[in-house]
């Protein structure tokens, strides 16, 4: 409950920062918004694990300043608990033709202890059409960590797309309470084949995801009787509106 209150507070603060901009912009009606779910899927693991996973974002703002929510989570359907769940709200502004910086707050609230983070990030389009999204986090416990998301779209046709993606998480010091060791602690690689059935609003896909924990993090996971690396078959849909 307090978590929810805090989230709302964050949103209110962020919106009030944006308010002067939107107030000006309203005259020329140049406020845009968008909602996107890059991943919205059912995962079936090689050991019979069943997960629901999502990874999405939504924004509102101008060319110069956007308020962006980013959320992701993995719900273990066998035991009905969130293995991971995080929500981030950040202000984002361009720093070059292809790159934005962002700064905000992330709240991670899976089953077990929660964490607040201050987050700064960089996202954009690298040469050769690599979509990059990366963050540096400082937790309320004073621990630094980082993540990096890379995605590339291979157009088999103009409607059928093969999307390799990679997500890497690293911590600069361990946070035993939430099962995070120092160093690179997890990598998730995905390959999804999607088809745009309705504009770019709905693009169902099938794919595979490989997830692997490393180092101390792997030890923590294995100590709970789970495996440190796992293959999933996934089925889901990309959404954009």
């Amino acid at each position: 409950m307090t978590g929810l209150k805090k989230s709302l507070l964050t949103a209110v603060i962020s919106l009030s920062i944006l308010a002067p901009v939107t107030g000006y912009a309203a005259e020329t009606s140049n406020i845009y918004y968008g909602v996107q779910m890059e991943e919205f899927e059912y995962r079936y693991g090689e050991g019979g694990e069943e997960l629901f996973a999502f990874d999405g974002d939504a924004f509102i703002g101008t060319d110069e300043l956007k308020l962006r929510w980013e959320g992701s989570g993995e719900l273990d359907l066998n035991v009905n608990r969130f293995e991971s769940l995080s929500n981030q709200i950040a202000l984002q502004t361009p720093i070059s033709d292809f790159w934005d910086i962002k700064g905000g707050i992330r709240y991670s609230s899976p089953q077990g202890p929660d964490r607040w983070y201050a987050a700064v990030g960089l996202s954009g389009l690298a040469p050769q059409w690599m979509e990059v999204d990366t963050h540096l986090f400082l937790s309320e416990k004073g621990k630094l960590s980082a993540d990096l998301d890379i995605e590339y779209e291979i157009l088999l046709t103009n409607y059928l797309t093969l999307t390799p993606s990679a997500n890497i998480e690293a911590a600069f010091s361990s946070d035993r309470e939430i099962g995070v060791g120092s160093g690179i602690n997890s990598v998730e690689a995905g390959l999804r084949l999607s088809y745009d059935v309705w504009d770019r609003i709905l693009s169902p896909y099938v794919g595979v995801v490989y997830e692997r924990k490393f180092g101390q993090t792997a030890n923590f996971v294995e100590a709970e009787g789970e495996s440190a690396d796992i293959w999933y078959a996934v089925i889901g849909a990309k959404l954009m509106f």
Binding site: Y32, Q36, D63
Partner: protein, 585 residues
Amino acid sequence: MRISFMQKACLGLAMAAGVALLPSLSVAKTYNLTVDKVMIDTGDFQKEGIGYNGKSPGPVLRFQEGEDVTINVTNNLDESTSIHWHGLILPFQMDGVPKISFPGIEPGETFTYKFPIVQSGTYWFHSHSGFQEPDGAYGSIVIEPEKRDPFRFDKDYVVQFTDTHPHSGKRIFRNLKMSADYYNRQQQTLGDFFSDVSKNGFKATVDDRMAWGDMRMMPTDIEDVQGFTPLINGKGPEQNWTGLFEPKERIRLRFINSSAMTYFDVRIPGLQMTVVAADGNNVQPVTVDELRLGVAETYDVIVRPMDDKAYTIFGASMGRTAYARATLAPRQGMVAEIPEMTKAPLLTMADMGMDHGNMEGMDHSNMSGMDHSSMKDMDHSKMKSMDHSNMKGMDHSSMKGMDHSNMMGKEQEKDSFYATGSGLVPTAANGGKFLSYADLKAQKPLYEDRDATREIELRLTGNMERYIWSINGVKYEDADPVILQYGERVRFKFVNETMMTHPMHLHGMWSILDVGAGKWDPIKHTISVAPGTTVYSETEVDAPGQWAFHCHLSFHMDAGMFRKIVVEGGPKSASIDLIGNGGLQ
């Protein structure tokens, strides 16, 4: 209140225009337009749009040169609207651009436009509010000249092209802001990669893809918005608008491109077209097989079908994603074959401004005397000194349209209004003559030829990935107006630094397009500037007040490729309350 203002404005204008108006001879007619929500049926889909007098496109308004028109425009929408009379020379308060000419027309309100008609030819009108124009708010204008035109025709038809999209303009714009390639369904695929490998070799293909990928731009980026159905006079290709003729009649076709975003390459297989007017103004006749109809431009052509058979009017979109089709036939129901679209063009590095076509000294006014054969040597020496950091290892010989020997060999295909080696250089489907801006010569110069008093450089700029469009790197909302002085002759230098073609439209005053013909340079209202080129136009600043100046691609205009022009000074009678604008209400 408003009427009395109109009367004052007209009086002021009559005084300003002076003897030219001959008030005693002028006729005065009243026209009524309603702005309505309408259903548009393209044959492919139906959508709710905006039209005039219950239809989209709206009516053909037929005026007479010398007439004083009164047009009552009633807004039946639930949002503010406006009508801009595209290409008409009139007092700025009648120009119909909200916040620049007037406040706009609120729901339920009737606004009365009153202005004298001081020109003749083919024009059009459209809303200048929000996304109403892409949603269907346009119609056409035909003005009969006081004296007869210097060419013969037996009948005439308006042939108005539009690009009707299933999405509303508002939604298209938001989608583009969310993802600039949202509507691009012509991107290069893995299949294209393999076919290019087999054609050009692996290394050349990889190098080509790397060169584009390094810039994060696409050679297929010719039409921002695809997925539309092209209409002619409101009819889709299947619905087939038909104009009737008797064999041997001379038919004047008034081509108007009222599309939001789409250029059309127009031809009528089996007929040559004699271009007699561009943007409403008569030009020295030039006979062509095909022409490119830029957004917001108009061309009048005369065709003379000799046989008792049907002909297809075929307009392939510049990016070849769709085509418009209509028919000229002796009898209703007759049809002719619908031709195949020619291959979709690909942009080249020349269109990215990375080529010699963009170099200094490529001044079009000097083009006529230029020896193209000598350019061959120049090119390559220039190329070597170029910054190749973005183009490392690019094999020029493999690039479509980059074959210099071929380009230079065919003089008639060299069009100085495209970058040398541009992928967009149009060629006629039948191998014949394709109209170039360089072919346009005024029939009768409107202005005395004189040197410009000043040059203003306007770099056409943008960020494709963010879908931000601007002039000199500044969006409209952040820009100061361009201040012109009444009586000066300004030379605009358009430098297109983007990969897209921009039809630049100046309101209220003519743009004298520099084709290197001196006093015979044609006068236009819309100047299309191809990627990687520099184009000049001159304007006699003869209209006081404030005006809009913008790219006529709807979504580029809305994204910021727009300027307000303020003309300072001018006849006292006409400039009363002009700049303050507060007197308008």
